[in-house]
Every structure is written in structure tokens, then in C-alpha cells.
Symmetry: D2
Subunit: 387 residues, 4 copies
């Protein structure tokens, strides 16, 4: 019998986690085709990835409510067909039963909190006899971390935790606990998460692979194919305005400028990295509840061509954010699980394809990232078949 693999969502009742959970159950029941799943494309699939039927889902969240209710709300908003849900009610209930109370940064003693998280992960692994547990952060975007020496040095961090201090943002506390429990981590949000020097040390000690950050699903995805086009054609981008309209839980969180700061930072970098110079132009994310989980992005690119001629390109992207994110989450779980199985450890730049702010690499162009991913999959594939 093939091994079983755990998927542990931080933010397990959010839109992305709920859509991913419904999708995993629906796909393995043959109720929907794997559209949007990169891991089903031949050059990636050949890496020897685990099947969706091997996944066991659980997670943390700080809100209650039932998964099936969340799924129904999303279906009403057009994120998934209502018809799917009746067949999955029971299984969604089972996943619901595995969701544990999460933590908040403000919550008191972080040493105790980390121990509780770690214990939850270990219990999940043991209870379900899992070969490994992949922790996926799909919780609300946090504000950027406030600089402090504890974030840069593991010894200082440990001392701070030992003395009852709370130096970490919640996303980083989850990553800390996950690494300590020997779990691979996927940072799908723009929150600090594992991307603090002190935590990179923890990951190194644990010898687990991790990837991030901030899933690339819409406007930034477009930028990372369009900017290379301008570059390859020697056209000079003069300004690039980026406007995003979004409702839903994510929109609500990002309506708070301190939280949005993390996101606009990750969104902004690709352009400069690809074009080789800073590009003028506003970047807004506006919360419009009416739009629900649907993100409308309008971009206006002004560029200069031969003999100074001025031209423009504008696009309107109208995408369902969670439906774009969910298959990528499944891809990442399958890929990092395979990497873990083969003993890879540390940040995984080959997974940069999936992220706005890829760790360990400067490559932002989607086609370059694709080539890196495919080469990596070739390597994993050569490493022998998945049991």
C-alpha cells in the first residue's frame, strides 16, 4: 500500500484552504478534471509525485464554523459548483473534525504556543500513520515583521522564547513549530513565516525542505510573462500602473494598510528584477466587498519603442482568486512531499514558479521559472520511482 501524506493548513477554514480541500476530495472522487493542476502536466508529473488519494487533511484556524458552510458560501459566490458539495459533505465533516484552534501573535507565551502547535502536528502524524506532514500557510496576510535581533539569530530567539517573550509574528511561530516537528513548510502568503534568518537556521537543523512565498496567481503572474516580452524586444517600459479590486476575506485583510504592505512589497519586486530598472506607477489593492473572491486587476503599461514612439498595453484580469490558488497548493504539497522523501532540505528555489517572492532565486520570469521547475522534476524523476 502506498504511504499516506498529511496536509496541514494554517488558516484551514479560509477560502483557499476550503477550495483546496473540496478540490482534493472532488478530484480523487473523479468528480472534476485536474484543470489548473501543474503537477498533472507531463514534465512535472514525471517527478514521481504522490497521488491525491494519499493525502490526509487537517489544520489550524482561529475561527470556528464548519467547512461545509464555508464551501457553500464559496459556491454561492461562484468559486465552485454547488452540485459538487452534496457528494462531499461527509468527508468535509471528517476534515472539519481535524481542525484545531490556532494561535495569534498577541497570544501570551510563545514558547508554550509553539509547543502546542508542534504537539498538534506530531499527534496528527501519529494518529494517521503519516509518512510526513506538509504544513501550508494559507492564513490571513500579516503585517511585515518589526525588525529585532531575535529574528536574525536563533540563539537570541530561543532565549527570548525561554524568557516568556513573544518576538515572532504568528506565521513565523507556526513555521518554527513545523520545522521543530520535522515538517516541510509552504509559505503561500506574503506573511513573514519562515523567511526570517533565525528560522532558516531551524529549518536547516531539521533538514526539511520549505518553499515560498506568496502564491503567484493573477496580476503578478501576468507581469512575469509580459515584462520579459518587453525586455526580449528591447522595448522600454516607462510606467506600469497596477490596480486590484478584491472582496472576500483576503480583501478585507488587505484593506488594512499595515497588512497590505507585505503584499504590495512582494507584488512590486518582479518588475524591477526582470526589467533591470525601477518602473514608475501606482500599485493599489482595493477592498470592494461586492467583488467577493473575484479579483479584477487592471494594468496600464506605457512603453516606448523605436525613435521614441509611445505605445501602451492595458489588460483586465478577471480571476477567481481561490480557484487559481487551490490547484497550486496541491501542486506544492505533492512536489515538496516528493522532495522531502528524497531528502532535499532548505529553501527550494526550483519552486519559485509558484510564488511572487521566490526564495533563494532572482528568477521572476515565468518561463525561466518553468525551465527550472522542469529540470528539478527531471532530477527528482531520476531519483527513482515513488513507492
Amino acid at each position: 500500500m502506498s504511504e499516506r501524506i498529511g496536509v496541514w493548513f494554517v488558516g484551514a477554514r479560509g477560502s483557499v484552504a476550503t477550495t483546496t480541500t473540496v478540490g482534493a476530495l472532488a478530484l480523487r472522487a473523479g468528480l472534476a478534471p485536474p484543470v489548473g493542476c501543474v503537477s498533472e502536466l507531463a514534465p512535472v508529473a514525471r517527478a514521481g509525485l504522490p497521488g491525491l488519494d494519499q493525502l490526509v487533511i487537517g489544520g489550524h484556524d482561529i475561527v470556528g464554523g464548519s467547512l461545509i458552510k464555508r464551501a457553500e458560501e464559496l459556491a454561492t459566490g461562484g468559486v465552485m459548483p454547488s452540485a459538487l458539495l452534496s457528494a462531499l459533505t461527509e468527508e468535509l465533516g471528517v476534515v472539519d473534525g481535524r481542525i484545531r484552534a490556532g494561535i495569534r501573535s498577541a497570544d501570551g507565551d510563545q514558547r508554550a504556543a509553539a509547543q502546542r502547535i508542534e504537539a498538534d502536528l506530531r499527534a496528527f502524524r501519529d494518529d494517521h500513520d503519516l509518512s510526513r506532514v506538509v504544513v501550508v500557510d494559507v492564513s490571513s496576510t500579516e503585517a511585515p515583521a518589526t525588525e529585532s535581533p531575535e529574528l536574525h539569530d536563533l540563539n537570541r530567539l530561543e532565549s527570548a522564547l525561554d524568557t516568556g517573550q513573544s518576538p515572532l509574528p504568528a506565521s513565523s511561530l507556526y513555521a518554527y513549530a513545523a520545522f521543530r516537528a520535522g515538517c516541510p513548510v509552504i509559505a503561500f502568503t506574503a506573511s513573514p513565516g519562515p523567511r526570517l534568518p533565525a528560522l532558516e537556521t531551524v529549518a536547516g537543523q531539521a533538514g526539511v525542505p520549505w518553499a515560498g512565498s506568496d502564491g503567484k496567481t493573477g496580476e503578478t503572474l501576468m507581469k512575469t510573462v509580459l515584462a520579459p516580452m518587453f525586455a526580449m524586444r528591447a522595448l522600454k517600459v516607462r510606467s506600469w500602473a497596477s490596480y486590484n479590486l478584491l472582496g472576500g476575506g483576503d480583501g478585507r485583510t488587505l484593506a488594512d494598510p499595515t497588512h497590505a504592505a507585505s503584499k504590495t512589497a512582494t507584488k512590486a519586486q518582479g518588475l524591477e528584477a526582470i526589467l533591470g530598472h525601477p518602473v514608475d506607477g501606482p500599485l493599489h489593492i482595493d477592498y470592494v466587498p461586492d467583488h467577493g473572491d473575484w479579483k479584477t486587476a487592471w494594468d496600464m503599461v506605457s512603453f516606448e519603442g523605436f525613435l521614441g514612439t509611445r505605445m501602451s498595453l492595458q489588460f483586465t484580469w478577471s480571476g477567481c482568486d481561490s480557484a487559481l490558488a487551490a490547484p497550486l497548493v496541491l501542486d506544492l504539497v505533492r512536489l515538496i512531499s516528493r522532495a522531502h522523501e528524497l531528502g532535499e532540505s532548505g529553501p527550494q528555489p526550483a519552486l519559485g514558479f509558484f510564488f511572487k517572492n521566490p526564495v533563494g532565486t532572482d528568477a521572476h520570469s515565468l518561463s525561466e521559472q518553468w525551465n527550472a521547475l522542469v529540470q528539478w522534476c527531471d532530477r527528482l524523476s531520476a531519483a527513482g520511482q515513488h513507492p
Copy 2:
């Protein structure tokens, strides 16, 4: 002293030829930076390309009028700054003096016509002591060629020409004569030109390199970066509507559906080749004189993601057609000249990057084409420096 290279435009008084000519003169006089010139990007430039100051320009056209007048009209239409022209009046007059009367397909005896063209090319090469002459077809788009055995078999073609027949479209007659004169050919239009089996034989015998066809400058350029994005993300493109508005001489020609047929055929292929399945949706090119040389393309892509969710992407491309084409023409001249110098012969798939309907390759994705171009330039570079 470095060698001199001829550039011979078929359609030398058209928008593209005029813009290219003005641009070549302006750039080498230091009056404008090489924006839009791919051959100035490091990985391409290293191929050892000839300088713009080595180029000597001439050509054929079937209309009279002066180049400087055409340039002034283009400047009024915003294709180039009027201010440039005063400094170039004299040099434009010199190029004007080298433009010879072209031929039309309907024109009588094609053997005689071909001989006249060939003689014009040889005279140009001799008079200016040129190492080579690159023939660039930037004349009006013709209708697709009517099938006939002469187009498939060189012996039959030669017999037909010997017996006073006129089996060739004009674009192909120019290519025939060019190959006979030992000239590399660039088919920048969607006309049949060199892309007839019988002519490929002529090119092979002459041992010259050639490239084509139909410069990729706007909507199709966009398609060949966006379609790979959908493919790499396993998103299913359900329909793709393509609308183009264009005035100018090119627009007028394409208002005739028989001529437009060549163009819509080249525009349509990339999508299916990249996505691996046919894609529904209209493709129109509409002539609106008011738009002049400015092409506005609006595309509406409808796609499906995870769990059947329907999304869309639309874009409006507002480009100056001739300003986009001209630097690519210069790139192609420099690249194929270098290839000729190094003894390359036959169709050059590595130049597919520049074309809607690339010869000798199935690669339509811009990034794949870029990689092929850069590799080829590496090879040219390794072959030794340009004298």
C-alpha cells in the same frame, strides 16, 4: 575598413521600409537610441553583428513619390518625430535615388522580370562594392498562392518561366531573383515569397540563408507569451477572440479579404501550436483609415480553471505598427548578414523569434524562440569575430 552590406527593400516606399530607413540613418547619426533593437541586447549583440554604419540601402517599389515626403507623412501620424527629418533630408534623397521600379504579378513575362530584378540586385552590389545584399520583403501582403505543380517542383517552374508563363506571385518572383543573385532573403510579410517548395530548392542551390515569415509585432506577439502562460499553469483556454483595427497602407491592403487571408492564416497558427488544441473565436482585421499606422488590438480570452470556474483576460494593445516592425527589420538584416558571412544556408529556424509563421520550426512560444535565438547567437559568436 569594415565591409559594406546592402539592404534591398521590396516595397521601399512603404511605411515599414521608410521607418526602417529613417531609423537606420538616425541611429547611426546618434540622433536616437536603439530602443526596440533586439540586436543591441547583450546576448544577441555578441554574435558579432555588422554595425548600422555598414549598411547601404536601396530597393524596389511600384509607386513613385519621395521618401522624405513619406517620412513626413509618417511623422504627422506620430510614427516618428518630425524633428529628426531635417537632419536626414539629404541622406534620404540618396536612398531615394537608389529605388528602382518594381514588378507586379500580373506583369507579363516573368522570366524577363526575374532577370531584371536579378540585374538590379547585382548592379547594386557591384556599384557599392558590397560584401552581400540582404533582400527584405516589406511590400503589400498578397493573397495566398493558388496551388499549381510549378510551385512544388523547380524543373516545372523553370519550364513554365522558359515558355513565357507567369506562375509566381510577385513576392515569390522577387525571392527567386534574389536567390539567383546569391542574396539572403527576409520575408517580413505574410505573402508566399520564398515559402514555396520550388523556391526552397533555388535557395538550397544558391547556398544562401533565408528567414520568415510575417513579422511578429503586436497581437500575435502577445499571444505567444500569454498562451504559454495558460499552458504552463494547466488552465484551459475555451475561446480567444481577436480584433484588430488598423489604417495606413497595410490596413488598406488587408481590407481586401483575399489579401487578408494570408495574414489571418499566419496569425491563427501559434495558438493551436502552443495550446495543443484548436481554440474557438473570431479573428478580424478591420480597416479604419482614421487609425493610420496605429494598430489597436483587443483580445478577449475566456478560460476555465479549477473545478470548472470560468475566468477571463482581456487586453488592448495600442501599438504603432511600423515603429514596432522597423527595428526588427534591422535586427534581421544584421543577423542574416552574419549568418551569410559564416556560410549558413537554407531556412533559419533560429530567427523564428521575429515571425508569426516561423519557417522550419514548430516553436511559437516567445521564450522558447528567445532561447533558440540566444543559442544560435552563441554559436555565431564562437565562429569568430566580425572583421
Copy 3:
């Protein structure tokens, strides 16, 4: 007790008729608010209009199938919420039972056909004890009528019918029969219908009001507010390109150029009428099955301002065609029913507000049409309260 009014759909199983039927039932059951219903706006409502609970629905169609099935298909396509339908199943079945077999133009003897239609209408009125029956043509768009003397002269028409000929398009045959049965007619399509001189005579003799033609619901609606803006600001519209993408039954019909000719003719007129000069630019309606009942229109307007400055406006309208049409159909039924009650007869220019090709008026500007409608409603209102 208040009187009962019949609504008879030609094309009763089409998208528009089905959506209108579901809507009428849902609104009177209090299951949905009257969004989109002009007749619920105060200045129109005061005309003394009949209530939706007074309407009894029946009709003709040439296809079988059940209304509830059609409604379910539309709900799947997002035209209406599935949830509505369960509560209306029974009532929809009742309406279904009242749908009679329609006729086609090609069908043999038109005298007999007209008599059958007329008999169907009279039977409907008698069986349900209706004060009046409004006939609404929402069937597939026909090709423009072929010119013939019978269409211009009632005597000739009658003779032709008497001698077993078939001079009329189906839509006009329905209108003929309706007028003979003393029924007001609403021509919601671009088909010839009542708009033939010979039929206007029939309507005059019958003393019934009628209105048409071609419901104004999307791109043309936009044009009739934007063109007046340019006119009022003395801005010169230089070109206006209009592209429409549409699936559904209507899209399929209009994919046939002979049928589309009727529609593009009605769509084109408003612009010239408002601006006072012809306007260049293409107008396409493209059938893309994937789009279903959703019409996407993209328009690109190029205009000139002060000192020759060139500017542009583009818009993308993404509307659900049947959801836009249905409430207007209800409005028209209520308004023309009231007009009939008060003895109005002949074409009703005051209803031009609802149509692309308004009969009896040159007013195309939406605000002018609104003013005319409101004045007319004032007059109806003054005529005394509805019993």
C-alpha cells in the same frame, strides 16, 4: 376583482421568453425584487399599469421541450439562480401546457396558418377570460424581408393570401394574425414583424397599439448615451468600432449572415441619427458558443477635440442578454396593455426608449426617449386610474 391580461410569446421556449416567464412568476411570488423593471420607477409606474399578478402567459414555439428544463439550463449558465426554480416548477408546467405549435415562413398556405394563429389567440383570450392579449415576438431573428408589392399594399397582400401564396416572413404572419385578433403587438426582435406598410394598415383597421422594434439592451444602449455626450460637447467622433461576442440560441441564429443583417441594420442607425453624420468603423456580432447567454461588447471610439487633438474611449460591456431583456418585456407588456385599455392605436413612438429601431420617431438618445416616455406616462396617468 381586477381584470386579467394575456401575454402571448412567439418563441415561448426561447431564452428571453423563459427568463421573462420565470421572472414574472418569481416577482409576483415575492421571490425577487423588481430590479431592471422600468415600470416600477415612480414616473413610469404612475401611468396606472396592471400588476404582474394580472398576467396570464402562453405562446407559440416551433420547438418542444419543457420550460422548466430550459429554465434549468439558463440557471446553469448563470442567467438566474437555480434556487428560484423549485418554487416555480408547478406554475411553469401550467404555462408550458399553454404553448402551441408555431409556424415557419416556409410552411405552406399562409392564409390557413394565419387563421390558425388567430384562432389560438382568440381561444386563449376566451378560455382565460382575458381583457386583452399582448403578443410579444421574442422568436429567432429572421433575415430582412425580400421586397415585393404585397408587403406594401394590403389589398395585394390579401389577394396573395387568398390564392394560396406565402408572401410573408413568419414574424409578419404572426403580427398579421395578432392584429386580426385585435391584439396589441410588441416586436422585440429585429425581424420584419409588423413593420411592413401592408401590416400597418391592418393594425390601423384593428385599432390596436403596437411597438417595436429590437430591444435595446447592451451595446446600442451604451451608444445612445455616449453619442449624445460627444454631440453635446461638440467633440467629433471619427470612428466607432463595435464588436460583440455572444453564444446561446440568439448567437447561433446571428452566426448566419442573412439573419444578422437585420440586427446589424438596427444596431447601426442610432449613431448616425444622433451625431448627424455617418461614422466609420466595423460592427461585428460573433458567435462564440462558450459565452452562452452572456454578451461581451467591446467598443473603441476615436474622437477629435480642440485643435485637432485625438483621443479615445473604449468600453467593455459584459451583460447577460436575457436578464437584460426580460424586465423590459414585462415593462412593454404593462405599458402597451394600459395604452390599449385607454384606446391608443397604431405605432407608439413613446415606447422608443426600449428599442434599437424605434418606430415612428427619430429620437435615439436615451435621455430624449426617457423624457418622451415619462410625458406619455403622465398622459396615461391623467386618463384615470386602472380599474
Copy 4:
């Protein structure tokens, strides 16, 4: 001989003033047609308006530089054709010579400043033997006025001025001085200007007409034709996002949020007034120097129709701000001059057609405003011909 009328620009070297000046000179020299001039449309022209050849231009500004230089810069940016300028150099120089140093709010003693402004206006009127001088504020947008009792009560204002205080924003100081000099005022900006209760008293005492405020030239113009369309069709607007990109001097000023506050306030009101309920959605004005005087506005309207169906409309307006504003400035000058001639005094609601924030009226719908304007012109016309 017909009388001469003064036009006095506050901000005489800005883009709008320069474009208006060039335009007035060009039109009266027959060098350009009156495109964009509402006052040339028959129903407005019949009001008996003064001709452009009667206008004498002068003004205040706080920057130096020459008008011809400013005009050349604008021509380079595409606001007007360079070719026009050579013929107007001399006349522009004459206008330049009439520009006096302006004042700033921060500048010391406002009583003295007001007296100097008033003296400048009187001198201009006397020197050129003008029947009247229309003062037009086209200077940089100021921040909203800080509330204070002096702004509400003329007595308190006068006392404050008498005691050397500076209670007024500069725009209001200009309006104060203009009214005292007996000049009609046009508030073309969103600055406080004449719209303070205390100043309305001054205008009343002076018996001069005035109009404002904030010229309606782009996005808001669109809103005031589109919102009525939704209202007349009973469609429910759910959200309306408004994004503006702008360079130029105006863009630079509005990049400062305190200044932009005035503008976003005037831009926001129309929608609610027309639709009768507040509408959610962001409204941004972003400064992108690269765009120059060209304003690109993208609006995304989400609306609901029958049975809850969700639809959208988006538009991209690409307009040249100063070219849109200039002819309206000329219209306003001619109209208010005529009103002054006929003894009209106080705020002129009939000129609301031209403004985002029309004084003395709640009408925001463009067609309603047009009707009011035309009626008013009928009245002016009836009052007898212009001498």
C-alpha cells in the same frame, strides 16, 4: 464696433490657460475649427454670445517663463500641433506682457493683496477699454478650506482683513477681489474660490454672475451619462471603482493628498446624487509623470439586473485634459459675459453642465444639465441681440 471683453486667467501660464489662449487666437485667425466648443452648437450659440475676436486676454500667475515656451512644451506633449504656434508667436507675446505676479495664501497681509489684485483688474479693464472682465480661475487646485467663522460671515471676514489677518485661501482671495472689481467669476478648479458663504455675499452686493466649480471633462463626464442610464433602466449599481492616471502640472499638484482632497470630493458627489444611494468603490488620482497632460481613467462598474444577475461595465477614457478643458473655458467666458451684459447676478445653476460640482443645483445628469443650459440660452436669446 462691437464691445471688447476681458478674460483674466488666474494661473495664466498653466496648461489650461495656455491651451485656451492659443486656441482663442487660432480660432479667430481661422487656423482651426471650433471642435469642442459647446457655444458653437446652434441651441447655445443663439444666446447672442460675443465672438472670440472680441476677447482680450491677461492674467495672474506665480511662475514666470513665457507663454510661447509653455505652448511649445504642450505641443511636444501632443496637446496641440506645433505647426499652429509659429503663426501666433507675436500675439502670444502680447498676452504674456499682460500677465501680472499672482499671490499665494501664505503671502502676508491679505487686505493689501486683495487691493493689488483688484487694482490689476481695474487697470486691465481701463487700459483696454473693456466692457467687462471675466475672471477665470485655472490655477493649481488648493486644499479644502479650513473651517472658520470668517468664511461664513462677511462682517467677520472684513474685520479679519482689516486687522491684517489672512483667513482666505488664495483662490478665494482672487474671487473676493474680482467681485469687488465688479467682475464675473468662473471657478474652473476644485479650490474653494467663490464657494464660501461670505464671498457669496460679496458677489450678491456686487451684482455679478459667477459659475463653478471644477470643470467636468473626463471620468466625471462619463459618470454623468452612464449613471443616469443605469437609473433609467432600474439597474442597481453595486460598486464603481474609479482610477485616474495623470502627469503634468495638475497631476503633480494632485499627488499631494491635501490638494487631491478637493478634487476627489467634487468627483464623488455626482454618482450618489444621480443614483439616490451611496456607491461603494475606490477613487484614486495617481500622478505618473510619464503620462503628461493625458489623463487615462479606468472605471469598473459592477451592477445587478433582473433576478440578481451580476454584470459589469468597464471603460478606459484616454483624453487630453487641457484640450478638453480649453474650449469649455471659452464657452463659459462667452456665456457668463452675455449673462453679465443682461444683468444676471449671483450663482448660475444653468452653467452646471460644465462642472463636476455645480453651484446652486442638484442636477448632475448631463442631459438634464444640457436641457437647463438650452432653456437658459433661449431666455438669453429672447433678451435681445448682442450689440
